[in-house]
Amino acid sequence: MNLLYLIGLPVLTAAALLLARSKEQVRWISFAGSVAQLALALALYFAFRQERAAGNTAAMLFDQTWPLFKSLHINFHVGVDGISVAMILLTSFVVVSGVLVSLNIEKMTKEFYFLLILLSLGAYGFFISLDLFVLFFFLEIAVIPKYLLIGIWGSGKKEYSANKLALMLMGGSALVLVGLLGLYYASHGGTFDLMELSHLGIPADTQRILFPLLFVGFGVFTALFPLHTWVPDGHSSAPTAGSMFLAGISMKLGGYGCLRVAVFLLPVGAKEYANIIIVLSSIAILYGAFATMMQKDLKYINAYSSVSHVGFSLLGIGMLTHTALTGAVLQMVSHGLMTALFFAVIGMVYDRTHTRMVNDLGGLMKMMPFIGTIFFIVGLCSLGLPGLSGFVAEMTVFMGSWENADLFHRIATITACMSIVVTAVYILRAVGKVMMGPVTNPVYLTLKDANWNEKLAAVILLAGILAIGLAPFWLNDLVRPATETIAHQILQVTK
């Protein structure tokens, strides 16, 4: 399959949007474009499987190269492995449902959708890039729309949040850029090519300097503690689809970068800094969970719980075992679907009740059984109930972490495990207060359940969550060979 379709499709959609004459046209073009993205992602998945089943064991499949700047050895090099395919699938699910829940946007509709599509373009480009220059280019494409989405369509103290998010992410990008340039010069011949760099064996001293730059830079995107504070503000001010994209896609760019660039290319650095990553992520997991417990705004609850949940990804990366790395990727996919769905239902509740304060809400299950049920299911996913994706990912991280037998790793793993109790506390508190109990406000009695588009959006994301939760083997089989390549890099360092 030609990977350029993944870039071409959003570009075409965006161009079509510019030509659209009415809001209706804008909506349908975006919807059709996003459905096409989903179809394309699924096609890619099956093509990938077929290729693997046919015995193609190359690290990267479907790769293509065009020279961009010959003199600087910069090429437009794309290709995918299991991790990228998983991320592309995730992105396409989130994009469709994000478009669907936004059908009621009236303010500057065309611009809104244009930015959503642009963001998806950045994400796909990022996930297929095998040249770090191109990768960085797409990373930046994915940042700017977020600033505008929050600043224009947001709510609350949106200017502050938009600034904060953009500045912190730009700061992260700056670190990444320095790191990438460092890699370029460390490669002597001067290359940005990911696969070439991975074979070079960069000197340990250089790795020690570059690893923190790249890991922290990408880490900002994925809410690495203590650089996570853009998350609560950013999410709470963003429009529903903005939050969904932010948590479901943008934060994954960071996790993917940490794994694909920092750990894969700089295994020595990864080993040396692993303990720091573990400490930071265990803190994030438990401290994020405790901080969530005290939040009163539903979006803050989900934002802090995201800090806690992405902590599992980072913990998995820090643990450096094959299983833990796999768990980290599974957790990225699972968390992306789950948080997107959570933000979607929070948006549905907010659109109807005009409040997100847990204490003002109550007994909504009676009027909105569909929304209530989805809210409950996604809550269960968040607290790691078997049958839903969160369980699979978390357990894989735990099993992988436990493979490190010393006391330090044990304590970190147990700390992370403890969060399953705290998560249950805050999720049940939110569900119990918002959906169950007596109806707190007679106005709510007249509220309607979800519309078709909201239902469809929820069902699509839920399908993803269930597909992973009930039959995790397909995703596991997809991801494991790819993480093995990374684990192999790390193993070679030990030898």
Partner: protein, 644 residues
């Protein structure tokens, strides 16, 4: 041997009911929901009986011993070449017996609910949840992989959450279901870490391989697990104790029992399901499943099981004597009886005669399922009739509710251990095993069984005797066929189940255990039981103030027991005061003010700094000229005097 599909359908039929009724139960299938759910359950129950019958009498026994069969297994999630979560079925005496218990009790509850829950607005949803609960429990008992148990374990937890919180607009129900879930989740944390420990040393998650490796002193895995020690205990002991903590949470063992009495907020048939056949025996099942590891490799952990069991049995019995809500009395009695099962496992050895406690424990699990389901369903019938849970609103109901009365009496006799009812046989075996294993535990158990007779007959007399009926509320009719049929059927089981030679079928190592009935040994327990009944009748047969006077004279103890020894308050203090105020609040504050404060500080300082230096770019030519002049002067001075 039945086909794989036959076995698979046992859990999948209730699951199909859950899916169908979960999606259409509010709309298209609302009316026939009850019949649909019950029909599926009936089919599942028949298949379970067929499978269990085949196992016990046809294909299960090879060379005189019951085998562990794993007819089906598939890889669900692979961690490494050896370690993977597999979903499969295990067939051994334990699981075959549990299949029968779970499906049978669940079927009774399904039938009973046809009448009891009639007219309920969310009737379809109710049956959907029952289906989910039954499915989870069946999946749990069939598990062939320790992680599979954990998966269904959690599903049992969530379905009990749904059922306890079924009346979700009642704040007390919401509080109760949250409490049940969170307390058991806390225990599950222990279970999870236990799994991690055991699987790390065992190098597998598969039950068969795991048990084989961890009970063989010559295996490298076992040696590693025994030699690795942490805080004075071996890794294996830690693993076993941690897994037991999970079991103690689900089985409401002290001090993790606090969720059980509150769980009465659910509809009464649900209580029957949770307390008789499903959730609470999961812990016993778990210990029984890993029993070889406990008994052979880590006797220390088994002692923990024994003492926790007997202490829970005793505390619960004392509390049960003082409660006035009939469902709460039954809840504490459940906790007490589960305690019996636990310590029976705890005092047991592995294999042959030494394994008496193991058989006795599961025997008691079996008979208890029958009479406890009966008690709860009977209590439901009473509550349905008087519209109250409180003893003070009852009394003299024996003539108004004859069927409920007789069946309830049978259940009380069974649980009190009066021969020849079912509870007598199983409790005798437990006591016998305890007397052989640990004298201290034996005496505690003896006292507890006397207390059991007392509080059960206190309950019985206060519902059906005590004062004469004649309140306004009491002019209803006892329920119809659907309500009474399960009572009668269960009463027959409660009366007759004791005659099953249980040890022949279910024993610790699969070889039949012939238990001898020893009349001399039975004198003490039966005498104590009868004494308890007589004491209860002296207090409660007729309305009088004897009980109040005794309670007044035992003021301190009575108040403490009435308030459940203030364990709830202790938990409340820890969660509210310590976790929320000392951990949660500071974490949230630090995040907003220190971590984010630092971020804002950087931002603000940058702005302040740029404000400072922006004066250099003022656009005023005169200012530039002055600065330029100053710069030239400085440079001139530097060139002339320093660098020349």
């Amino acid at each position: 041997m039945p086909s794989i599909a036959t076995i698979a359908l046992i859990p999948l039929l209730p699951f199909a009911g859950f899916v169908l009724l979960g999606i259409f139960g509010r709309t298209a299938l609302k009316k026939p929901a009850g019949y649909l759910g019950t029909a599926l359950m009936l089919a599942s129950c028949i298949l379970a009986l067929y499978t269990a019958y085949g196992y016990f009498f046809d294909f299960g026994k090879i060379h005189g011993a019951y085998q562990k069969l794993v007819p089906f297994q598939m890889t669900w999630l692979e961690f490494s070449k050896d370690v993977s979560i597999n979903i499969g079925f295990i067939l051994d005496p334990l699981s075959a017996m549990m299949l029968v218990v779970v499906t049978f009790i669940s079927l009774m509850v399904h039938i009973y609910s046809l009448s009891y829950m009639k007219g309920e607005e969310r009737f379809g949803t109710y049956y959907a949840f029952l289906g989910l609960f039954t499915f989870s429990m069946l999946g749990l008992v069939l598990s062939s992989n320790i992680f599979q148990i954990y998966i269904f374990w959690e599903l049992v937890g969530v379905s009990s959450f749904l059922l306890i919180g079924f009346y979700y607009d009642k704040p007390s129900a919401v509080a109760a279901c949250k409490k049940a879930f969170i307390v058991t989740r806390f225990a599950d944390l222990g279970f999870l870490i236990g799994i991690l420990v055991l699987s790390y040393y065992g190098g597998t998650l598969d039950f068969g391989t795991l048990i084989a490796r961890l009970t063989d002193p010559s295996s490298t895995q076992m040696q590693a697990a025994v030699n690795a020690s942490f805080l004075g205990a071996s890794a294996l002991t830690w693993g076993a104790v941690l897994v037991f903590i999970g079991g103690a949470g689900k089985s409401a063992m002290f001090p993790l029992h606090i969720w059980l009495p509150d769980a009465m907020e659910g509809p009464t048939p649900v209580s029957a399901l949770i307390h008789a056949a499903t959730m609470v025996v999961a812990g016993v099942y778990l210990v029984a499943r890993l029993f070889p590891v406990f008994a052979i490799s880590v006797p220390g952990a088994l002692h923990v099981v024994a003492y926790i069991g007997v202490v829970s049995a005793m505390i619960a019995a004392v509390i049960a004597c003082t409660q006035t809500d009939i469902k709460r009395v039954l809840a504490y009695s459940t906790m007490s009886q589960i305690g019996f099962m636990m310590f029976a496992l705890g005092v047991s050895g592995y294999g042959g005669e030494a394994g008496l406690g193991y058989s006795a424990s599961l025997f008691h699990l079996f008979t208890h399922a029958m009479f406890k389901a009966l008690l709860f369903l009977g209590a439901g019938s009473v509550i349905h009739f008087v519209h109250s849970n409180e003893m003070k609103d009852m009394g003299g109901l024996r003539k108004l509710m004859p069927v409920t009365h007789i069946t309830f009496l049978i259940a009380c006799l069974a649980i009190a251990g009066v021969p020849p009812f079912a509870g007598f046989f199983s409790k005798e075996e437990i006591l016998l095993a305890a007397s052989r294993g640990n004298t201290g535990i034996y005496y505690m158990a003896l006292i507890t069984s006397g207390l059991t007779a007392f509080y059960m007959f206190r309950l019985y007399f206060r519902i059906f005797w005590n004062k004469e009926a004649g309140h306004d509320a009491h002019h209803g009719k006892e329920g119809g066929f659907a309500l009474l049929f399960p009572l009668v059927l269960l009463a027959l089981c409660a009366a007759g189940a004791g005659f099953i030679p249980f040890g022949e079928y279910v024993s610790s190592d699969g070889t039949p255990l012939h238990s001898e009935f020893d009349p001399v040994f039975s004198i003490a327990p039966v005498a104590l039981g009868v004494a308890g009944i007589l004491l209860a009748s002296w207090f409660y047969l007729r309305a009088n103030d004897r009980a109040d006077r005794v309670a007044a004279s035992l003021k301190g103890l009575y108040t403490a027991a009435y308030n459940k020894f203030y364990i709830d308050e202790l938990y409340l203090f820890i969660t509210k005061k310590v976790l929320f105020n000392l951990v949660g609040r500071p974490a949230a504050w630090i995040d907003r003010n220190i971590v984010d404060g630092a971020v804002n500080l950087v931002g603000n300082e940058t702005v302040a700094f740029s404000k400072l230096i922006k004066k250099l770019q003022s656009g005023k030519v005169q200012q530039y000229a002055i600065v330029f002049l100053g710069g030239v002067l400085v440079l001139a001075v530097l060139f002339i005097y320093i660098w020349h």
